[in-house]
Structure formats: C-alpha cells, structure tokens
C-alpha cells in the first residue's frame, strides 16, 4: 500500500489548470496546420492563421488562449493500492482549481445556483470530478478546461437498434450542422455510444482525451470516425461558421456494451482550444 498525501495534489492541479489554458497542445497545432493547407476559404485561412498566432502569443504573454477558461473537469485514475491521507481528496482538487484560477488570472465562470440566483462562486469551484479505480499504485489526474459555448452544442439521444450505424452517423453530422458557428469551429467532436443515458455522455467527454493525431485503435470505428469527419467538413460551416472546409479537426468515438432495448448516443462538442493536461503521481 502506497501513501499519497492529498496536500501533494493541490499544486499539481493548480499547474494543470494554468498550463492547459496557456499552452496549446501539440496535436491541436499539428491538426490546425494540416487543415490550413487544405482550406480554400480566404476568411477561413485568415482565421486558422490567427488561431496559430494566438497560441504563440498566449504562451509568450502567459495569458489564457481564450477568455472562457472553462469549468475544470477533473478525471482521476486512482490506483487501488494507493492510500490517500492527510485530508479530503476532493477538497484538495478543488483547492488546486481555486489556486490555479485565481493565481493564473483565469476567468471564474461558475455560478452557485444554476437557475434562480446564478451567483458567481468567484473561484471557479466546484470542479466536476470523475474517479475511476484502476490496478496499480499510481494516481493519474487529468484536468480538462471545458468552455461553455461548445458544451452548449452537445446532446444525448436515446436511439433505436434499428437506426444502426447510419443513424449514428446522421445524428452526429446533424448535431454539428445545427451547431453552425456557435461552438467556435473548427471543433473536436467527442462521441459516446452505448452504456446508459448518463454513461454515454461521460464516454463522449472521455473520448475527447485521445490525442487528435491518433486514430481509433479499432479499424472499424476508425473508418466510422473518418467518414463522419469527412461529412462534417462538407457542411461548409468552416472556421467560426463564416464558411469554409475546416469545420471539425477530428471525431473521436468511445463505445461500450448496453441493454438489448437501447442504443444511447452522445455528442460532446469541444472548441478548437481543446484543452486538457495530465500528470501521473507515482
């Protein structure tokens, strides 16, 4: 049994929050450059170049790439041989988020009551935390800074088995078509299939953690992703919805078993900042 003091987690989460907002990840930079080569719309090309310039400027100025620095979605993979000591684990994560968002000059975007008061909590807490227990004695923490504009274009649909794979493809493409310029295209499209009503939404969010330069390990699903991406990029929406061929940078699918009566499908849309960073504590 290995002991990890929760106080060690605070600076780790703090840094993850700051870094994911300041520094563009390499896979996103590669993909934007790749699509810039192929973009035929002059405005679209202008915008993609501006996004690349923004990446550089954010890193130099130590400023967040986008003013919407997101809700902190924290994925924890906790080794079953780890014993967490020294206090409340989730409070340590929230303290890390609090320090990251305050010290890093990140925007505080969380309201306490979702409907009536909508009063800002002023420190971007609480984070949204998911914990998986895994074999081993290490602790992996991933912080995804999820912006509101793209999140708002996401959807869960309880489909029928008869809808088949074509139904799934049509739903995902239609969801992006209806989103138009709202989610800050070019987007990354996360898709969760199977599980249950809530599980497929979580799968869709987790699917966004795969590097977008990597294909789905299953060739059947890789082909489905490729086909959906091609169809999305024929919609004409383009960068920021002003017209063009670069509407999505990647489609990423995760699937799992489900009930014989069900075929839940979730689409979780991410903006081109596509922010997430991980650390393993050993």
């Amino acid at each position: 049994m290995k002991e990890i003091n929760v106080s060690e987690i605070i600076p780790v989460v703090r840094k993850l929050c700051i870094d994911t907002n300041y520094y563009a990840s390499e896979d996103v930079v590669i993909k934007i450059k790749e699509f810039l080569e192929k973009e035929v719309s002059p405005t679209g090309r202008d915008i993609l170049q501006l996004i690349l310039e923004n990446h550089k400027m954010a890193a130099e100025e130590l400023m967040p790439m986008c003013q919407d620095t997101g809700v902190a979605v924290v994925f924890v993979e906790l080794g079953q041989d780890v014993h967490l000591v020294g206090g409340d684990f989730y409070e340590a994560i929230n303290e890390g988020v609090r320090q990251g968002y305050v010290d890093g000059y990140l925007r505080k975007s969380i309201v306490e009551d979702p409907v009536i008061e909508r009063k800002n909590t002023r420190d971007n807490t609480p984070a949204i935390i998911y914990t998986d227990i895994v074999p081993g004695d290490s602790l992996k923490i991933t912080v995804a800074a999820k912006g509101g504009g793209a999140e708002n274009m996401s959807e869960v649909k309880m489909m029928k088995a008869a809808d088949g794979i074509e139904g799934v493809k049509d739903f995902v493409v239609d969801r992006i078509k209806r989103s138009g310029g709202n989610p800050c295209p070019p987007v990354v499209v996360g898709v969760g299939i199977g599980g249950s009503f809530e599980q497929c939404a979580l799968l869709a969010k987790k699917s966004l953690l795969r590097p977008i330069t990597e294909k789905n390990p299953d060739p059947v699903w890789a082909a489905v992703e490729e086909e959906i991406l091609e169809r999305i990029n024929k919609l004409g929406i383009g960068p920021q919805g002003l017209g063009g061929r670069t509407t999505a940078l990647a489609v990423s699918i995760l699937q799992m078993p489900c009930h014989i009566a069900s075929m839940p499908v979730a689409v979780n849309v991410n903006c081109h900042c596509h922010r997430h960073e991980s650390v393993v504590i050993e």
Partner: protein, 184 residues
C-alpha cells in the same frame, strides 16, 4: 482578402449602410461589454423607461466576459462569447439606439429583422483568438454591475479592433451565405 474598413464609435447610420457581409472592419473608440446577465438588467431598465448606465445612441456592445488582467495590462484575454444567448434581449436595445453588436455565431431572424429596421450591424470577432483580440484594447473600466464579476459592464477603449461584418443593414447573413458557398 475582403475590404478593410475603419469605423469609429459612436457609429453613424450612413457609415453602417455602406458595409457588406464579409467586409473586415477595424473598430476604434468606446465599446461596452455585456453578456447574458447584464443584458437582462439593461432590458429591464429600458422596459421601465429608466436611464441606461451608458449612452446607447450609436453604441457598440461587445459580448465578452474577459479573463482578469495581469498587473500593468488593461485587460486579460478578451474574445467573443456565443451571441444567440443575447437574441431575446438585442431587439429592445436596437430600438433605443444600439448600432453594433460584436460576438460569435449566428443571430436569429428577429434580431436580423430588428437590425434591418434600425439600420444596425452584427460583427463577428474570432472566438478563441482572445489574446490577439485583447491587444486592440487600450483601456478597460467597470462602469456597472460590478457584482456580476466577469459579466459586469465594462467601458473599453479600443483601437483597430478586428471583426468581420456578419449581418449588414440589408438583412444579409454571412452564416448562410458562407456556408452555401463552401457546402459540397
């Protein structure tokens, strides 16, 4: 590249009538920030016949909630938020003199009709290019609703703030025209 047109606030109808969708504009002068929560309060004031916290005649509103400024800087990152959420409020503000809105993503038919009626425009700035955009902001001060935090109304002094004309005074919509042009 599309035409580059310099605009200065307060905006004049005759300058706005010359704009066409797709034109690139560089905006200079005072611009006011407002998101959902501030819009709700502004429209309540209009409906009650009360005075607004800034002069709306010829004004431009930027849909933004900036990140905090580092010491010595006027503003943090300052890109646009999604505009459709302001659709329920915008016509009431256009009716009392608002001339330009800056945001990202398409507007609904009622807002587009109101822009035609009131000879106003909607400008798209680039979502997620928030550090580049912040460079054109020279000063920033909160003038109302400080309790709203990032959503408080700020008066920005901008210089050559870059944006694209998304809806002109004739009812044209770049989000339809652009997509039709590149759809395959």
């Amino acid at each position: 590249m599309a035409n580059e047109i310099h605009l200065r606030t307060p905006l004049k109808t005759e300058d706005l009538e010359k704009l066409k969708v797709g034109d690139k504009v560089l905006l200079t002068g005072k611009v006011y920030t407002a998101r959902d929560a501030a819009h709700k309060r502004l429209v309540e004031l209009v409906e009650a016949g009360k005075q607004l916290p800034f002069d709306i005649e010829g004004a431009a509103i930027y849909f933004v909630g900036p990140s905090p400024a580092r010491p010595g800087k006027p503003i943090g990152s300052a890109g646009p938020t999604t505009s459709y959420r302001m659709d329920p409020y915008s016509p009431a503000l256009l009716d009392v003199g608002l001339k330009a809105m800056i945001g990202k993503g398409p507007r609904g038919p009622k807002v587009i009709d109101s822009m035609v009626k009131n000879k106003a425009v909607y400008l798209a700035s680039i979502g997620g290019a928030a550090v580049v955009t912040a460079q054109s902001v020279k000063s920033c001060k909160i003038i109302a609703y400080e309790d709203l935090g990032a959503e408080a109304i700020r008066e920005l002094e901008v210089e050559e703030f870059p944006a694209f004309v998304a809806n002109d005074t004739k009812g044209n919509d770049i989000f339809q025209l652009g997509v039709e042009k590149y759809r395959r």
